[in-house]
């Protein structure tokens, strides 16, 4: 056992993020850490990497009690991590990004104590070679694609010969092929005797790569064991503390008239020749790798991105969008992919968030009308079963899933004809996920047209009536439910192939 922790506690003001962190890592084994959103996984990681100092608890390295006062100390002890958040300096070079924080210094001579740039380049090159990555060392990181950035982060973690490697949701932004590469690397490290902690919300990955598991709930340890001796249902039950029903509650709904018709939508640099039609009662899925340009298309439909060509027709009338205001007025709603920065105004109350896009409609355009606003907000918060004491609660006091419900509620309140959901379940735990899916089914049942953008194959396949696959800004295939749902394994392979252009 290389690293073991017990009874770790950490609070942020009133929030007890971690109440009883317990974990042990063994050389040459991959341990999966699972738990709902906010279970305290990342907090535990940050304690292990010296970013946070625990309020209480013990940490033993090779059996000896120790504590990390800074990230450097943790690194020196042989612990490396790829964090959940992107840790990237866009204006620095690839080489410096890899070595940031532990720039190599000249050890002797008159330059003693100064940064040794030659050694830095050599170090960076060596670790990139080990990863089999072909990246220009002097390129600015801001100019890299998201997958390349990920390689840089990985390189940073592997730069030192660590004995412990922590990966906090490393696959969230990776394509299938890149995930395969990642697995290969993990197995190689495992063979070298590295102890690995792997955090993910995706069970198929956990069963693919992990040897052991640790489950956390509400900041506390729940259970641990060997992966071989458990299954998904058991894990989910431990995570949420109860049993779960079906994950994708797809209901069949009669499909009506075309609502949104898009023809030849183009943008100079982001997407080209996108055409499709969504009908009332239909869920149209958009699948692709992260960075395929789906969000850009949706943002153009919502008037956020100006287009260079193409036509948009809503319920038969053609639209000229000069901004989201026009789109909202026409009956288009867009639930953006990044809830915290694009979706909600966190420090504002639930009510103020929900009524923001339709203040004019509720109030007549001038004076605020707190009562009327409250009524609207309450109606939608109820309908979505937002868990909060009242609608005065600030959104940043809600859990991620509830925040997402508020954002969806805000867009439903505009009474749209089409609602675009961009990665509506990204980073949301199983329980909240199921509720969002359930709700999606309700929406189409009411005759709305829904566009679902998702990078999770099971999700699009489970929910969509039709799927359009995009690759590098261009649509590259359209599949009906019959085509992909009849044989899920075959359908998944087909969609993945289309998305990667293989």
């Amino acid at each position: 056992m290389v690293l073991a922790v017990e009874g770790l506690k950490k609070s942020f003001g009133a929030v007890a993020a971690l109440r009883d962190g317990r974990l042990s890592l063994t050389p040459g084994r991959v341990t999966a850490l699972i738990g709902e959103n906010g279970a305290g996984k990342s907090t535990l990681v940050k304690i292990l990497t010296g970013i946070y100092r625990p309020d209480a608890g013990s940490l033993r390295l090779d059996g000896a009690e120790c504590s990390f006062a800074s990230p450097q100390e943790s690194q020196a002890a042989g612990i490396a991590a790829i964090h959940q958040e992107t840790v990237m300096f866009d204006d620095l070079t690839v080489a410096e990004n890899i070595c940031a924080g532990h720039w190599p210094l000249h050890a002797r001579g008159w330059r003693k104590g100064m940064i040794d740039w030659k050694a830095l380049l050599a170090q960076a090159q060596a670790v990139l070679d080990r990863l089999g990555a072909d990246l220009p060392l002097q390129a600015r990181c801001g100019d890299l694609s998201i997958a390349q950035k990920h390689l840089v982060e990985m390189a940073r973690a592997l730069c030192h010969d660590s004995r412990v490697l922590i990966m906090d949701e490393p696959t969230a932004a990776l394509s299938h092929r890149e995930i395969e590469d990642l697995y290969r690397l993990v197995r190689q490290l495992k063979a070298q005797g590295v102890a690995i902690l792997f955090i993910s919300h995706k069970f198929e990955e956990i069963f693919e790569i992990a040897d052991d598991y640790v489950v956390m709930r509400d900041g506390a340890f729940v259970a641990a064991g060997a992966i071989a001796e458990t299954d998904t249902n058991a894990l989910v039950a431990m995570m949420v503390g109860r049993a779960m029903g079906a994950i994708f509650p797809k209901r069949s709904v009669p499909i009506g008239a075309p609502v949104l018709e898009v023809a030849g939508l183009s943008h100079p640099t982001e997407f080209d020749d996108v055409s499709f039609t969504v009908r009332a009662g239909e869920i149209l899925g958009f699948y692709g790798l992260v960075g395929a340009g789906r969000s850009e298309v949706m943002q153009a439909l919502f008037g956020l991105t100006p287009i260079s060509g193409g036509a948009i027709r809503l319920a038969g009338t053609s639209l000229q969008l000069n901004g989201p205001k026009d789109a909202i007025a026409a009956g288009i709603a867009y639930v953006p992919e990044d809830r915290q920065s694009q979706g909600a105004i966190l420090p504002m109350s639930i009510r103020d968030n929900i009524t923001l896009p339709l203040l004019n409609r509720i109030t007549g355009g001038w004076l605020l009308a707190p009562k009327k606003e409250g009524a609207v907000a309450e109606a939608f918060a109820r309908r979505l079963a937002v868990k909060a004491p009242d609608w005065h609660t600030r959104v940043d006091a809600l859990s991620g899933g509830n925040q997402q419900k508020v954002v969806i509620g805000k867009w439903l309140a505009t009474a749209p004809k089409v609602i675009i959901l961009d990665e509506p379940t990204k980073g949301i735990d199983v329980g909240s996920k199921a509720k969002v899916h359930d709700f999606m089914s309700d929406l189409v049942a009411e005759g709305l047209a829904v566009i679902l953008v998702s990078s999770e194959l099971p999700e699009v396949m489970g929910m969509a009536d039709r799927i359009i696959v995009m690759q590098q800004g261009r649509p590259c295939g359209s599949f009906t439910r019959d085509e992909f749902a009849r044989d899920p394994a075959h359908g998944a392979a087909m969609l993945a192939r289309a998305a990667t252009g293989a």
Binding site: S11, F12, G13, A14, V15, E36, N37, G38, S42, D55, Q84, E85, D218, L304, G323, P324, K325, A327, I328, Y334, P336, Q340, S341, Q342, G343, A344, I345, L346, P347, M348, D352, L356, P357, L359, N360, T363, G365, W366, L367, L368, K387, A388, P389, D396, A397, L398, S399, G400, Q403, K410
Partner: protein, 332 residues
Amino acid sequence: MTSLKLAPLPPSSFTWGLRLMRRWELLLAVLLVLVMAGNSLLSPYFLDPYNLADATANFTEKAMIALPMALLIIVREIDISVASIMALASLLIGLAAEAGVGTPGLVAIGLLTGLAAGLLNGALAAGLGLPSIVVTIGTLSLFRGITSVVLGDRAITAYPEAFTDLAALKVIPFVSLEFALFLALAAVFALVLHGTVIGRRLYAIGLNPIAARFSGLNVARTKLVLFALTGLVAGLAAVFLTARIGSTRPNIASGWELEIITMVILGGVSIAGGAGTIGGVVLAVFLLGMAGFGMGLLNVPGIVMSTLIGALLLVAVAVPQLAARLRPKGKA
């Protein structure tokens, strides 16, 4: 509730203003009462309607500009060029006066000049998305530069009496037109910020400009309008200042921008955006004005006053932070 999901890192953003808002205004009000009481004790001349009326003249122009400046800072922008806008507006008023334009024309020219200067700031900062602090440092030099190039070593003093009388005009005994206008503007700004849809949108933009844009608000246009409004009010202030001193020099109102920003920040408007009230700003205006006047009555040099303001500002921002640190963990 068991699961709270906050930002993954401790919020580096500055939210003290938001949390402390209510208490902040109370504190300002208490301080104001203390200052008034102290002044009346220390100087027999303080509680004299004539004197108080005169005292308002010292800060009314700055106070007017503090109102739109507060809105700008609430939406995360700033305008450092306001005093230079005043100089430019005063210049054009002066040139027009020399050309024989009448009083209504002069007022209109002052307002229009301010508006145009504000629009330029807005076009660069909001339109092109350049950082407003840099843009307005640039226009600060530019506007005052134009004024000094045109005026050189000259001063314009040929103002018609009807125009200079604007400053002395009283709407009711002891209340000058200018001061009444400030009070009216403050009421309007307070209503707009706290009682209308526009105000709610300004806070939304200040708290999260991206989410605001994604919610259908026209962030760039709103900011442009605020810059223009700030320019317009600076033009209005220039009209009154010019009328009051009857003279335009290149260094007119120099250094006022910092005093105005100080009023706004002391009033509890957070420089990080999204927090602050007009009530707080108005209280800060009176607090600073009355403290300054009181010290003037005691013949304390003005710089001692600005030293105290500096110290007060530092204490004001530090205390909530310190309090938050010292508060025992685990209790909100």
